[in-house]
């Protein structure tokens, strides 16, 4: 799969002296959904703003579909659509007019049929004659997406697209994003909802203090950094752990009714079979068992706060 965004040694220091990005190297593959995760102030929005041309980089290069964003900015920007984090809209414009404006601004000739399709896809067609100020927050968010799609971009940046929207709209947006990906659009999203990244993203990048600290396929990341947990509901409670089980990461919970085995998938792959054999040898019986994997959110918190070294 070829890369549609290539970032090399990108740095950004604002006039205030604050360094937002440090030596960023990142490639985004064509047609993928890439989730950029990071705590507030990590540099996510600055990175997106530089790629889209809103903020000037201090140094480094960015190519969008092979076009340098500074030297060949027309070709680069024509391929990019941006849905910013803030709901920035022209309050007095109608929905259709503002989407038509966006299409023209990006150098595309008027195409009422395409604009209609975008508005229908986003359930905005019935609101096309409404002024934006009369819309709800969720509807305004849809308008922002419609504006970003108005010029038929190949690359779509969604900066916190579902911040503050209700569950239904969030689901609608996820479906929309998947639909766009099926049409070949590359999607880069930042989000605070880790479950969003976990459910949708092909790959995840984690940025912290202006540095990319990890880029992995979401599935690989879950496997490599995820922790697993096995909970055995014992037939008879134990007061203490038998010495024969020393060396395993075991604990007793629920007043000795539950034996919990936690292990790091990276290091020991979890010797569950061995544990069960040893329990059988010791005559410890259980009536039920449950397993659980750590979520991407837990992995993310671990990465950002502990550098992925575990607790």
């Amino acid at each position: 799969m070829s890369n549609v965004i290539e970032i090399e040694r990108l740095n950004k220091t604002y006039d205030s002296g604050f360094t937002a990005l440090r030596d960023i190297n990142l490639s985004i593959r064509k047609g993928e959904i890439f989730a950029l995760l990071g705590p507030n102030g990590a540099g996510k929005t600055t990175l997106i703003s530089i790629i889209c041309g809103i903020v000037n980089a201090s140094s480094g290069t960015v190519l969008a579909d092979g076009h340098d964003i500074r030297r060949d900015y027309r070709a680069a920007r024509a391929r990019i659509g941006l849905v910013p984090q803030e709901l920035s809209t022209d309050a007095f414009e109608t929905v259709r007019d503002t989407v038509t404006f966006s299409r023209g601004l990006f150098g595309k000739p008027a195409n009422p049929a395409y604009v209609e399709q975008v508005l229908r896809d986003l359930s905005l067609w019935d609101k096309r004659k409404d002024k934006i100020m009369a819309l709800s927050g969720g509807m305004k968010r849809r308008v922002m997406i419609a504006k970003a799609l108005a010029h038929e971009p190949d690359i779509l940046f969604l900066d916190e697209p579902t911040a503050g929207v209700d569950v239904e709209l969030r689901r609608d947006m996820w479906n929309l994003v998947r639909g766009l990906r099926e049409r070949g659009v590359t999607i880069i999203l930042t989000t605070h909802y880790i479950e969003e990244a976990e459910e949708m993203a092909d790959r995840v990048g984690v940025i912290n203090h202006g540095r990319i600290i990890l880029v992995e396929r979401t599935r690989d990341l879950m496997e490599k950094l995820g922790r697993k947990e096995l909970r055995l509901q014992l037939t008879s409670p134990l007061e203490t752990l038998p010495e024969a089980l020393d060396g395993l990461s075991l604990s007793l919970e629920e007043d000795g009714h539950e034996l919990v085995y936690r292990f790091d998938a990276r290091r020991d792959q979890g010797d569950v079979a061995g544990l069960l054999r040893r329990l059988a040898d010791l005559g410890i019986e259980f009536r039920d068992l449950r397993t659980r994997e750590s979520s991407l959110e837990e992995i993310f918190v671990d990465l950002v706060h502990n550098g992925g070294k575990g607790d």
Partner: protein
């Protein structure tokens, strides 16, 4: 060239004018007409002629210029300031559109509005005062040149301003006084010699003088000087805007 982009900005800005007809068109026409009623018809009929022109007719070019400067600055500064204020500027900055095309869209619309207003005011003034236009093409040329130049200036103010107070301060504190003291209501030759020299440092003198020449064929300063000074100011504004886009000053961090 991204002509669709230029048209989109131009249409958007003009649509704002049509949406707010009372504020954008009716208000400046009415307020300037009040000058014609008071200074042209009421007081003007008791004033002596200046350079062989009735006082009411004499002040017409100056009053049109007064409105033209204020409206050009106000339209252009507001046009670029509002997207900055509401945050919608992100779209313009991320679009495949060059600085020249952005300026063409915003400044073109602001200047168009000012020219339309100028012509409307000229037509309205005819109801109160009788006047002739000796050089109609030169008049339209001066009108357009001044509208474009001061729309460029307004664009700079709109980029520079980081609040509504700053947006108003230069038009109110500098441009209006310069216009009133720039020969709108009098001929520079009526001033004592010392103040005549001081007045020549006021750029508005050259605009009013050149514009008045296109009406009556008389001017306080030579036509060529008026034209040259207007062009110099336009070039200075264009240079400043080039610098703004090159550095990203108050547009791109």
């Amino acid at each position: 060239m991204n002509l669709h982009g230029v048209k989109a900005i131009y249409r958007f800005e003009m649509a704002r004018t049509w949406r707010t007809l009372l504020q954008s068109i009716a208000s400046p026409v009415i307020s300037t007409s009040l000058y014609f009623v008071v200074f042209g018809s009421a007081i003007g009929s008791r004033m002596v002629e200046i350079d062989g022109i009735s006082y009411g007719a004499f002040i017409i070019p100056g009053l049109v210029m007064l409105m033209l400067l204020n409206e050009s600055i106000s339209n252009a500064s507001f046009g670029i300031y509002m997207p900055k204020f509401t945050g919608t500027i992100y779209e313009v900055l991320s679009a495949p559109i060059s600085p020249l095309e952005i300026v063409l869209g915003y400044v073109g619309a602001a200047a168009s509005k000012s020219i339309i207003l100028g012509l409307l005011i000229l037509a309205t003034s005819r109801l109160f005062v009788d006047y002739q236009i000796a050089h109609p093409f030169a008049m339209v040329g001066f009108l357009a040149l001044t509208a474009v130049t001061f729309s460029l200036f307004g664009f700079i103010i709109g980029v520079w301003a980081d609040g509504f107070e700053k947006l108003q301060i230069i038009p109110m504190m500098i441009v209006t006084p310069l216009t009133f003291l720039g020969g709108t209501f009098y001929s520079v030759t009526m001033l004592p010699p010392f103040w005549q020299t001081v007045t020549l440092f006021n750029p508005v003198v050259y605009l009013v003088s050149g514009f008045r020449w296109s009406f009556y064929g008389v001017a306080d300063v030579h036509l060529g000087v008026s034209l040259a000074m207007t062009l110099v100011f336009m070039l200075v504004c264009a240079g400043l805007i080039t610098w703004i886009f090159k550095t990203g000053y108050r547009l791109r961090d």
